[in-house]
Symmetry: D2
Subunit: 444 residues, 4 copies
Amino acid sequence: MTNNKELKVAVIGGGSSYTPELVEGLINRYDELPITQLWLVDIDAGMEKAQVICDLTKRMINKAGCNIEVYLTTDRKQALDNADFVCSQFRSGRIEARIRDERIALKYRMIGQETNGLGGFSNACRTIPIALEIAREMEQLCPNAWLLNFTNPSGMVTEALTKYSTIKTVGLCNVPVNMERGAAEMLGVERKDITMQIAGLNHLVWARKVLHEGKDKLPELIEVLLEGNDKMTPKNIPPFEWDADLIRSLGILPCAYLRYYYQSRDILDKEFAASESKSNRADLVAKVEAELLEIYKDPTLETKPKLLEERGGAYYSEAACELMSSIYNNKRSIMHVNTRNNGAIQGLPNDCAVEVSAVITSSEIIPLRVEPFEQDTLRLIQLMKEFETLTVHAAIHGDINAAKRALILNPIVDSGSHVDEALKETIKENIEFMLAFSHVIEAL
Amino acid sequence: MTNNKELKVAVIGGGSSYTPELVEGLINRYDELPITQLWLVDIDAGMEKAQVICDLTKRMINKAGCNIEVYLTTDRKQALDNADFVCSQFRSGRIEARIRDERIALKYRMIGQETNGLGGFSNACRTIPIALEIAREMEQLCPNAWLLNFTNPSGMVTEALTKYSTIKTVGLCNVPVNMERGAAEMLGVERKDITMQIAGLNHLVWARKVLHEGKDKLPELIEVLLEGNDKMTPKNIPPFEWDADLIRSLGILPCAYLRYYYQSRDILDKEFAASESKSNRADLVAKVEAELLEIYKDPTLETKPKLLEERGGAYYSEAACELMSSIYNNKRSIMHVNTRNNGAIQGLPNDCAVEVSAVITSSEIIPLRVEPFEQDTLRLIQLMKEFETLTVHAAIHGDINAAKRALILNPIVDSGSHVDEALKETIKENIEFMLAFSHVIEAL
Amino acid sequence: MTNNKELKVAVIGGGSSYTPELVEGLINRYDELPITQLWLVDIDAGMEKAQVICDLTKRMINKAGCNIEVYLTTDRKQALDNADFVCSQFRSGRIEARIRDERIALKYRMIGQETNGLGGFSNACRTIPIALEIAREMEQLCPNAWLLNFTNPSGMVTEALTKYSTIKTVGLCNVPVNMERGAAEMLGVERKDITMQIAGLNHLVWARKVLHEGKDKLPELIEVLLEGNDKMTPKNIPPFEWDADLIRSLGILPCAYLRYYYQSRDILDKEFAASESKSNRADLVAKVEAELLEIYKDPTLETKPKLLEERGGAYYSEAACELMSSIYNNKRSIMHVNTRNNGAIQGLPNDCAVEVSAVITSSEIIPLRVEPFEQDTLRLIQLMKEFETLTVHAAIHGDINAAKRALILNPIVDSGSHVDEALKETIKENIEFMLAFSHVIEAL
Amino acid sequence: MTNNKELKVAVIGGGSSYTPELVEGLINRYDELPITQLWLVDIDAGMEKAQVICDLTKRMINKAGCNIEVYLTTDRKQALDNADFVCSQFRSGRIEARIRDERIALKYRMIGQETNGLGGFSNACRTIPIALEIAREMEQLCPNAWLLNFTNPSGMVTEALTKYSTIKTVGLCNVPVNMERGAAEMLGVERKDITMQIAGLNHLVWARKVLHEGKDKLPELIEVLLEGNDKMTPKNIPPFEWDADLIRSLGILPCAYLRYYYQSRDILDKEFAASESKSNRADLVAKVEAELLEIYKDPTLETKPKLLEERGGAYYSEAACELMSSIYNNKRSIMHVNTRNNGAIQGLPNDCAVEVSAVITSSEIIPLRVEPFEQDTLRLIQLMKEFETLTVHAAIHGDINAAKRALILNPIVDSGSHVDEALKETIKENIEFMLAFSHVIEAL
């Protein structure tokens, strides 16, 4: 990428209510990231909402005085043609699918989160085929573009793209960036002065180091956290207590999602309770979505509204825009991304996707080297990576045995005949998004 | 070991109701295994029962016309002095401890099996300190003797002995020998004509090959099993259905205990039901024990009674006696034992204990080489091995954090605050057998 | 293999002067190895000599009173048809090729041994294509037969057969058996009472253990050797001094061929001196061959003549016949063979050939587990294995770059432009046996 | 390190004729690297020459108008006290030792280069004890300082420092920087526009990637090199031809020193020829040194003289000063350094030193991730790393067996009795610098 190009950015799932965050980020970095075309792509079913988003986008850009043309289209190929960056933030099956996943999971007394357990599996099977379809089009229309994936489950989607496509792909998640921001706040230092090292898999990461003026402040950060001053957990994860001795014994700091593994039953109990009181996560999200859309429609609104930050995606713009700028300007920022392992985490295959702190250059994503994990943590990571790898395989090939073997392995999915039932139900209800399973649908 | 020695055998836990099986085996092999002294060791609390066993043993030997002196003692050192083989079959805390383990586990809705989950953990913590105490005495009194361990959890006890003692140790279990016998029966061939290869961890093994006249009959055996003709499962494991497609997809044959991992919830549900109807495993065992003892008391009984085979330990004599004979006579029998890995199962540490088919020589135990496991099975084995390693560490050092980390890792133990409660209760109620935890008992 | 079969044995290169040794071994084991047909196969050019061997063979069998039909043929397929064991002991290019190899190597100041350095490379390239041709025929005509390979370089030939054919192959060499016999003699014990563990690659092995009555006598054996009482080195290897401190520091006992690696220049100097005095190895062999043949022709000779033992192949009959008998009778003898690694030597690929002590069963060859080598020894083994793997690849595919990369890696081949010259000359002079290189011969 | 510090730099071996290059670099970066004290440390024997260097340094700094105090001292501790950066560029035994090494090596027909073969071994044994002594002092006097090591053999010295000291150490060499500069020139692009990836061990590295505008230009660079346009080889390495097919087959670009491994005999022949004509490398260096010193004495000289670049150390200043600045300013430059492996090169231990391209931050040195090497190249690297590790061990512990095992392993050292002789001679003649070997000197 030469440094004086006029940039074209395509956003798949452009009608998402997150888009204004992205737009705000692009506006803020307009000086260093000379975008001239911004293409929002969405499907017919989402066009009404997408139009609202597009109109707001135009008002925001206009207000900021940036020279960016904004396009809304259902023609993905037109948007991808000659693009420099493609942001993937679509949701396959829309919010309805997420609500369905949670319902099925809870019916069988399982965790119904969109990136973990049966919900994560289901989401992966719906999403990966579309992600690969996009990558195929990019291989034709913009083979040198970078694909920034935010679509959940981000780790598995990135693994599928990394293994089955030649497109340069980086997966992003806002969990690590929340950890980094929170850590700076908790330590009372400037965020720019810390170098945080994060490693693991998407939604299964640990902070390994928090370097500040040559010292590793991780032990101090752990103590602050244990005193109850958690500023790292995104708002969409319920606040929770860690076992102090356990965390000190681990010596590394787990992300909030690791509660699904360290405190499974407590989480499950909470989810059941929430479900009975109709306050499950997917329903909540649907409600916030509706409210947001109403706000966006206001023709006098020219900036990102505050309410948006209440969703889990806060700082999403930061991750996406900083990543684009760092690639474009060869900035060598340290960011926390999903990328091909190649030895960064010892004990995992070279070709799998991991979530690690990395130096972002215009040529490569360079992970910070990770000290070997202690054996028990490594075993958990290895197990979950195998779950992910089997799931990716099942999603692409419609392999029902791979699906079962994936779910049996997952430690937050109780194995048993109920899983087979839940799996059948999941595939049947999602078959329009999981066409790879068509050949077995009759037999289920 | 020279081949013309008069052999001394010591049996720790000699008052076990299994002893008559062992004695029968020794009698059957009297020609090839010239034992002159058989020492039964037990504790004061078990002496009444042990006397019954000892008397029966003497009647059996007398009837058979063997020239073996039988001794009953509570002085373990006297029994170990200059012994050639030491059979360890004691139960730390006796049957009451097992009943207690099952009760606590079920109270917290967990699997309460004596070798798996919380029950296995508890049993290991009670047993390992005594096993090491015996090994220390052997290092002084009979450093060249072989220790044959049958005490459960056999894998973890063998790992502790292998890592922390110089005594030559072999761990045994009757699961693999049941699989081999059953396989021959199911295939309609002579058992002597098959060479079965088994690999994994204790109570977590798979058949990898069933060689017969140069061909691997494992696929055929799998089909016979799936037709419902299971002759491999010991009588103490409930009969159960496997998912045919899953088993074919795995391509290897899991032992019955793997249902705890492949079908956890179904097993747990069964155990709950049994518990409510007072028919849980430990109570059942206690009842059979009492019946057996009454039979043993009959002064006209001079052979092993049939009822003994109804317990899970059938063919235990075969394993123990064949192992002793194979070592003594350098027979090179192929047996399925727990031994130091050293690369037999790739992906596990060299120094951990594994359960594998091995050639038994007078010098070494030589595992059959195992083709690498498929990745998902390997990940499960690695995880469980780490659970075992952490448990062994916790048991020896009284390390409560290691205990927690072990239990969090175990896929059939739901993590969560209930585990901490159950762990506390387990340690408190067993503290007399878990003295390593004394330093933390106050803080619990 | 069922145990009451009438066995058919085919010997490829049956006209070798070693054959009488093999025949003697078969006669000695006639009771346990019921052979009814013995087929000697040779090429037209060797038929005159082969007829002499065949006649002697018949006289020997007749004298012994065995009921074995002996056939001599140039029709290999007829001999292979329905064979149970195939012994491969041919020499591609006959003794002339070996003389040529030594000449070229010495011309370029390189070691010219038939299994090491350039000579080993050349021999492999001549031999492997024929070995694979035989395996292809076996796959058609006797797919369940065992192939016993004695053809040098035995390690590389076995690797080629193991990787590129489905035939069950075992590679043999008389170096380990000489070490074992010598060790027993040096320790003053019965050979049957020791269990020797040998590990490495063909002509690059070390004794790792010498178990005797439960103790490892290797340190004692090393001291005996260092006192100058070497009974382990075959007669075709010059006697030589080891550096005592070095050997004690290694703690394992190198085979005689390791002098090529530990004392390269001294060996090379000796070979030059021998070459100048016309007493190089190949010429010597040719002379002994001629003498032997004269003796064999004597129609009154009915047993193996003493002179045969002066060649390096002493105890060859023992290895071959014991191996056949052990397979046929499922004897579980411990022998030292070339077989697929599969983790036996840690740090080498699973699918490469290694030379290790193994239990011989009718179903599988089971290597004794090898404690990890110290790092420097491991690195040498890994390097040489890669030399072998590249050589096998070059031999099959006629890949000149693989050939160069193999030779550059070999520590007893000085790299440099002289190697390219020597390689060209080798290929050109051997092209009739190295047809895979035909496509590059013009460009050389 | 905070960003507004006044920096103190200590240069061990400050009297080196290279120092003016370093001084020039510091002057050029004065704006970004606010040095206030520059301490030149040397030994008594070198003080006369050091004074000349110091005077020139002062004239250069004065001319440039920088506010840097320059000190010359033999009191190393005073110089280290509170230092921020310590540059180590001493030569243990001075140039005489290097001449001696080359003489002994050639006497025994071995390569006598100061970083390879016997010469490298000898140099390491002389240098490592002093390097560790310096590190010990730093641990007391400036524990947070960075140690930049240029002292040869840079890889082994860095390994010793990394393993046996807590001081943050980076090893440098001018080979990679010459490759990078040369590559840019050969490709006709700006050096700042390429990102070169280099990996291996010191003096045993390969270029793995040359990224330019998102493409890897390595294949193109290889073709340019093969056309004879080598701009990458330092002036102290003789120009040489590569085998075009071989290099293309490798697909990676070896550094010039790899000729010692790929073309050993040709190099050795050249060195012999040079030696006979008295033009060996060490003598040549001594001559240039003398000339340089005369020039430096000129009181009107106020800048670095051109002649300095004729030595192998060109661009040394660049490496040293850019490294200091990059650490101080957290610049995240990509440089090629010797650092702890930790998985960067797969197949080597985590704790060994490797030479790799790395991102330089104020907190850590982050190696670019390296795609796995092809197996033959990996085996060479592993072997040489083991040579280095054994040498470091021998140097520190005076272990003569480790020394022998190191030399036997080294592929450019012929093994044999001559090596033992050469080793003895080396230790005896260098004993004042190799005190660790004192305990064995009598026995040699």
